[in-house]
Symmetry: C2
Subunit: 413 residues, 2 copies
């Protein structure tokens, strides 16, 4: 946890405005870490609508099971998140821990346990002693404030080297609504998920089924398009809460996903989730460079995505970028191993705008000096143009450095 | 190339006996490396039968294309292998380099170019200047000797820290035949291939179609069951040559794969390919530990294999082993992300013989001290018992260390 802040961290922290209907509190519960907050609650106004998406792991954590079951009710009053312990692969004890927490949270705010949402992140397999912090929830609900978003982002960190925030204000009909989002994650990050943990709240009056459609549309191009290490977590959770408080100011209630007034909100949500997802990649364990992998000219979008993931998850591509080596031969290797339709002799590879390979061999105008210079950048864009169709996809990842090995060789102990 | 020899290297080098009908020569051609051999030929007696298997990459190297085309003829007179340059993704120039080499080799030994086999290993994308070494082939054929197997293993190395040998003598009918094998490979190693390069020769009189059946049967449990970094090479080549010289001493000619006299030969070939494949893993770039991943109780053998690969390719599992951390939670994660049928609450995980997790939670008798002690071993056996069926599979891999990143962050430059 004492690793230096990623050089790719945002230069400034956004001012996170209050979201009407949301109050926040954090605590030092001492679950694993000392001298820092590790427990966070968000309390929501009555009637707050909720949607979410979770890890596709076959071995999900107990809180993921718990949230999945509650999501069908569509309303939320309180979110409880702890860091330091994932409450994953903890069996019966894990289910008991979620029940203890949910009961205490429901009692603290005065709601049904079906309106409680939980997330845990940290070590897998250690029992979570929920009774050690459930007694804190009464006081936290009582002291929760609207201006605690920065603290919320900090309390949910594990191996993150910086907290991840995003905010937007956007028109809904003729009225302005606000979205705030936070996220955490640095390792065990791979697509087919909704990142480690991310929570977005808005005052927009949008019904839960509509929120669910919006998440489903947005997650493919954001959280499901990043990878740090190809390892999908047991705990990935994205939850979107809509308090509806803006209705009091005249914002229209949205009950259908095809409501045209949703346009700007949809765009803002897309941009926010992509922003948070890229912040996670830029805080990838040991990362010193962000890599944007673009595949175009593939047989289909799905095929392009598979090729892009093959490149983005290749240890040899990632170590080459870490070494500032424009080793495009490894990109060719990764295209080849993807198993998707490709024709070696039509393939072109670019680093940034520099075409390094064309029609199955090194570009005639290739300049080692120019390309090496480009590799010194913080963000490296690798483009593979398969030249056999119109499918395209983009995946974001980070380089693979010795620091990744160091962080993960002694994370647990 | 100056990396220290893997601590997992074999303690002794086997005495490699001559194979009647095979002579070998090596040379310092200066293709990339200085002060070491980088060119190797094996000359074969007339009528030598050949079989092989190659990378499944969609972007194979020019020599792979060349060998695939020649394999259908079934006979071989000469093998030419260079290290330092893979002749992969070299377009028209790459095809020309294989033609130049094949023509010179055929002329040197006096055969058709269809009886020449080629392999190249090293950097991808650099044109291979075959005319710089094709002039050496005449002299090499002339000076080739039967007792140069150790030199052959050395000449084909790239980032390998030790050469890889195996030898066996075995009964064929009432007669003894001999098999010798060499291999190279340390990075860009993943299943669905036949390793970087491996060459096996025998004096057994076995027809090419039978050899092909034997390879197909054996490669699944050997070369296709190892992974260093999940990155499949463009150049993977396994070739098996049978000179048939033992027929002169009375060994029976084998023309059918179901000939019962093949039993001991088949077993010896299986054991040899598995031995060479494991030598590659034990020389995996930066490796300090070998990891044997056993999955049992899966729905099918295919499903077990996918789960085993998910564990063996997980950077988080591999870094944990590097850190001697019995982090079985990451094994659970890797089972979960595989997407194969699994039931969290029936899963058991073992490190060696120590059951660390059982029925979805930490084993009640788990001892951190005992498990940590086990993790100090050179070879770590991880077993995941899914407890839902009878499918099983074993995959060999190595740990992921800072040295892997160092080796691959400056390999090309």
């Amino acid at each position: 946890m004492s690793h230096p802040v990623s050089p790719l961290a945002p230069k400034t922290t956004p001012a996170m405005p209050p979201i009407e209907g949301v109050t926040i509190a954090t605590e030092e519960a001492g679950i694993k870490y000392r001298g820092r907050t590790d427990l966070m609650i968000m309390a929501f106004a009555e009637g707050t609508q909720v949607a979410g998406t979770f890890t596709k792991s076959r071995c999900p954590s107990a809180p993921v099971d718990f949230c999945r079951a509650n999501l069908k009710h569509g309303t939320a009053r309180i979110l409880v998140v702890n860091s330091g312990n994932a409450n994953a692969f903890t069996g019966r004890k894990g289910r008991e821990a979620t029940e203890v927490t949910a009961f205490a949270a429901a009692k603290a705010i005065g709601c049904s346990p079906t309106e409680v949402f939980l997330a845990s992140t940290g070590v897998i397999g250690e029992p979570l002693a929920a009774d050690r912090f459930s007694g804190l929830l009464d006081g936290m609900v009582e002291s929760a404030q609207t201006d605690r978003w920065l603290e919320a982002g900090e309390a949910i960190m594990t191996t993150d080297t910086y907290p991840k925030y995003a905010t937007a204000t956007v028109a809904l009909g003729d009225h302005i609504v606000t979205l705030n989002g936070i996220a955490k994650g640095a390792g065990m990050i791979a697509p087919d998920m909704a990142t480690m943990l991310s929570f977005v709240a808005t005052d927009a009056p949008i019904d839960a089924p509509v929120l669910q459609v919006l998440i489903a549309e947005s997650v493919g191009g954001s959280f499901n398009s990043v990878t740090v290490d190809s390892d999908t977590s047991t705990s990935d959770t994205l939850l979107l809460f809509a308090t509806g408080a803006a209705a009091e100011n005249g914002a229209p209630r949205i009950t259908e996903a095809d409501d045209e007034r949703l346009g700007p909100f949809r765009q803002a949500l897309d941009a926010m989730l992509k922003d948070l997802a890229r912040q996670i990649v830029r805080d990838g364990e040991g990362a010193r460079k962000e890599i944007e992998v673009r595949v175009k000219g593939a047989q289909s979008a799905d095929s392009a995505r598979k090729v892009a993931l093959s490149i983005a998850n290749s240890p040899l591509v990632k170590t080459a970028v870490a070494g500032e080596d424009a080793n495009w031969g490894r990109v060719v290797m990764a295209v080849g191993k993807a198993g998707e339709p490709a024709d070696r002799d039509r393939l072109a590879v670019y680093f940034g705008d520099i075409r390094v390979a064309f029609e199955g061999e090194r570009d005639p105008s290739y300049s080692e000096a120019e390309t090496s210079d480009y590799m010194k950048n913080d963000t490296i864009v690798i483009t593979a143009d398969l030249n056999i169709g119109n499918g395209s996809a983009t995946i974001w990842t980070c380089d693979l450095t010795k620091e990744y090995v160091a962080i993960n060789g002694d994370y647990r102990s």
